[in-house]
């Protein structure tokens, strides 16, 4: 039993040193992929109540949209190309609404 545990531990150590970067990168990129979608869902969740947000909140949301767009622009590959097109449009609608609400408040 002890030998099995020892063997498994040594194998895992070997795997980590030989493929560690690959594993970390793969997990990291999968996380990063979900990460930007989560950021999109968070930042655009307030569109229903855009008019009730303060100017500072609206400015913050617009900045987050702009930062997110930069990340979306980096998407590539077949799936990435599609996602770039879809989310650029969706994000633009959301960003433009916040900008619209901000201008309304500033005019007021």
């Amino acid at each position: 039993m002890r030998n099995i545990v020892r063997f498994t531990f040594i194998s895992l150590l070997f795997l980590y040193f030989s493929h560690g970067n690959f594993i970390v990168d793969t997990l990291g990129s999968a996380y990063a992929q979900q990460d930007w979608k989560q950021e999109y869902a968070d930042v655009c969740a307030k569109t229903q109540n855009a008019m009730t947000l303060s100017s500072a909140e609206l400015k913050n949301h617009i900045e987050r949209c702009d930062n997110l767009q930069e990340r979306i622009n980096e998407l590539n590959g077949s799936q990435g190309k599609t996602e770039k097109k879809v989310y650029t449009k969706r994000l633009k609608m959301c960003r433009d609404l916040y900008d619209f609400a901000l201008k309304y408040k500033e005019e007021k």
Binding site: V86, M93, C94, Y104
Partner: protein
């Protein structure tokens, strides 16, 4: 002299024929055709028939926002630039037409056996028997005079349709929309009743970002000046009410207030 007169007459006739308008009057679409969109971004270049999209079937099942905000279809035909790869990747039509929720749209491993499925959308110029028959589909719904001949608002009020407003994994979990107050818009022509704009109904179906600021850019009521000419040109209300929502000929649906 007679010859000169004949040739002058002939010349005038030829010029008037050449300059005559070749007919600008369009046939009014039949109820089942109203709101139909033909999408041909890449179909013909890929040797396949363009897509015929029937709005009536989709609007009976989904709110405008699901497709035009959450899925990302543009408000103008062919602007979305849909590719088969986008559908295969699970976006645009492929969001629902994925082989699980409903029949699959576009495939990498296409075989001639699939042609009947392709024809369900890529049907322009083909005699396809659609799965849903318009007349049968709407037969018990409240009627309207124009457009599809359906009063969509009443149909929903009576619970005959329940348009979906959230798709898991696609829509964002948004906060509840605050009730929007309807407001009056003054008619520009004397004797024409004012408009009572149903802001509440529009926001329920569309959300905010579908109209603001893409369609209505003015940040304050009354700032954006537009006329019926603009609307007939497909701008402002005309984005939807020229082709999909009840048509502009149905004046009384908007101009509802008493004449002052």
């Amino acid at each position: 002299m007679k010859k000169a007169l004949f040739f002058t007459g002939l010349l005038v006739f030829t010029i008037s024929i050449a300059l005559a308008q070749t007919g600008v009057k369009k046939r009014r679409p039949l109820p089942f055709e109203y709101g139909r969109v033909v999408i041909n971004n890449y179909s013909e270049t890929s040797h396949i028939s363009p897509v015929v999209f029937d709005h009536w079937l989709h609007r009976a099942k989904f709110t405008c926002r699901i497709c035009h905000v959450d899925i990302g279809f543009a408000m103008q035909t062919e602007v979305t630039d849909i590719r088969a790869a986008d559908n295969i990747n699970g976006y645009y039509c492929g969001t629902c037409h994925n082989g699980k929720d409903t029949f699959s749209s576009c495939k990498n491993d296409f075989t001639p056996k699939d042609s009947a499925t392709c024809d369900r959308c890529h049907s322009l110029g083909k005699k396809i028997v659609k799965k849903y028959d318009f007349r049968e589909f709407v037969k018990d719904w409240p009627r309207e005079r124009l457009g599809n001949g359906v009063d969509w608002e009443k149909t929903e009020e009576q619970g005959l349709i329940t348009p979906v407003d959230f798709i898991e994994g696609v829509s964002i979990k948004r906060e509840k929309l605050a009730d929007q107050a309807d407001f009056e818009l003054g008619a520009k022509v004397e004797g024409m009743p004012d408009i009572l704009f149903s802001h509440r109904k529009h926001t329920i179906w569309n959300g905010c970002e579908l109209c603001h600021p893409e369609i209505f850019i003015g940040i304050k009521k009354g700032i954006t000046k537009y006329s019926m000419v603009d609307i007939y040109d497909g701008k402002y209300c005309g984005v939807c009410h020229k082709s999909v929502a009840f048509p502009l000929l149905d004046c009384q649906r908007c101009h509802t207030e008493e004449v002052r």
